[in-house]
Symmetry: D2
Subunit: 145 residues, 4 copies
């Protein structure tokens, strides 16, 4: 479906990259399934991610946006893309996220020469669609900024 | 420019709302200027918000997306809107964010009956535009979900 | 998956709605498959939709954005939503669209009380993904503006 | 504010580019003011752009999305960017567009090495904000697709 620009990164290498980021470590992320279309990232609950504390705790939209952003980037890396970062992200919020863990399911739309794109869904414990969105990731060999 | 749906919230009330959220407290946010178009929110650096640690530390895009999301929501509240949360957010990343503090400057585009919109720019210490974007905020009196 | 808010519109009723719009008639749209998740809309080539005429004709991105916008709206209608119009649309362009017909495949993400969302892919004659995106559609019973 | 990558195109050259596109000719576009931040594009009413014909005629969102897409691209060209096309566009619809002419006011956010961005507002005859949005435009020297 999409053009592979180089050998995709392995789970081990992806995990090393993921754990280089202090924010990713703080979010306590780990990979779920990695397929030939994309991958899953699992995030547990933690008290600091709450936006609205009452009447029931709801996760902040920015945390879900972070997951959609980063899951798309790793999905691109898992399919042979070499992203240097994120150019843009769009997120739709569908339902309040009131309990974890959360699974980000990300699928590559296109591995491009300049920009790769991926779409990501955030599912709650019962597979409910909580949020979904997409991001664009410029190629690392380009001088993006 | 935009229709006011009720008396806008004061700085004191906005600050109370802002500090209800554990994620906002973790981000250590505070309001800057509040005008008749929107407002500013200031966020300091903290080590856990880093995405790329080397060769120089870069803030994670999800943190900037969080700021754009929440600054727009408070901008809507400051102009008489009554948002129940965020329906969607779009973020463009312009430059790497390598030092703080960060100022989110948010301006209301429209206070609507169903949905209000605001656009937000994230500026670095030297007023460089780091990221910008926009969000849509459904009215609290609606049953959004 | 999504909550049905009322009996979905039939193909006949959807077709009547589609053909009320002068712009839709100009685009010469017709429905393809209608499923329990969404629907397809087919658009032929016409000379006025060209953006770049040489070295080979490429369809204007605004035409593909129009298709993504309207296909999502009709997908929402096909699943029991009652959209009053479009609140927002996001479009990613993946490949140049150089020959038709084009098929917009649209799937509802959520039928909501305030806002429904749908995602749409535009496929070329050989099923190549040309563009994709998503839109949000406020409920008709709300006074959106 | 933004880095100039080469001498910006003049109004004459921009007009030549604009009129190469059959879709732009169909929309009957012309430039308004061109400043050192961006430019304006003016579009008249025409019957085929209508989405909803009754009780009063409303312009199709796809037409406004087209304007936001193309005005941003020409704004980038007017500031020294060399876009090859559009990578993505995001549009918010604020009010129904019921009479023309329409003015798209577009301002460059960033001229980038890989991607340039611009934001655009669509104003009605009385300067009412009808829609607004932003687009990302890859550099022509890159092989985008």
């Amino acid at each position: 479906m999409q053009k592979k620009t180089k050998t995709p990164f392995s789970r081990e290498v992806l995990t090393q990259f993921l754990q280089v980021s202090p924010f990713h470590l703080w979010l306590d992320l780990q990979f779920g399934e990695i397929t030939d279309e994309g991958l899953e990232i699992i995030m547990p609950w933690r008290p600091e991610i709450v936006s609205i504390p009452e009447p029931r705790q709801v996760v902040h939209g920015g945390i879900l946006a972070s997951l959609i952003d980063l899951a798309g980037l790793y999905a691109v890396m898992s399919q042979g893309g070499q992203p240097s970062g994120t150019a843009y992200v769009h997120v739709d919020y569908h339902r309040q996220a009131t309990s974890g863990p959360f699974v980000a399911v990300s699928k590559v739309l296109k591995i491009g020469n300049t920009l790769s794109t991926a779409e990501t869904s955030i599912l709650g414990p019962d597979n409910t669609l909580l949020a979904s969105g997409r991001g664009g990731y410029p190629r690392a060999t380009d001088k993006f900024y």
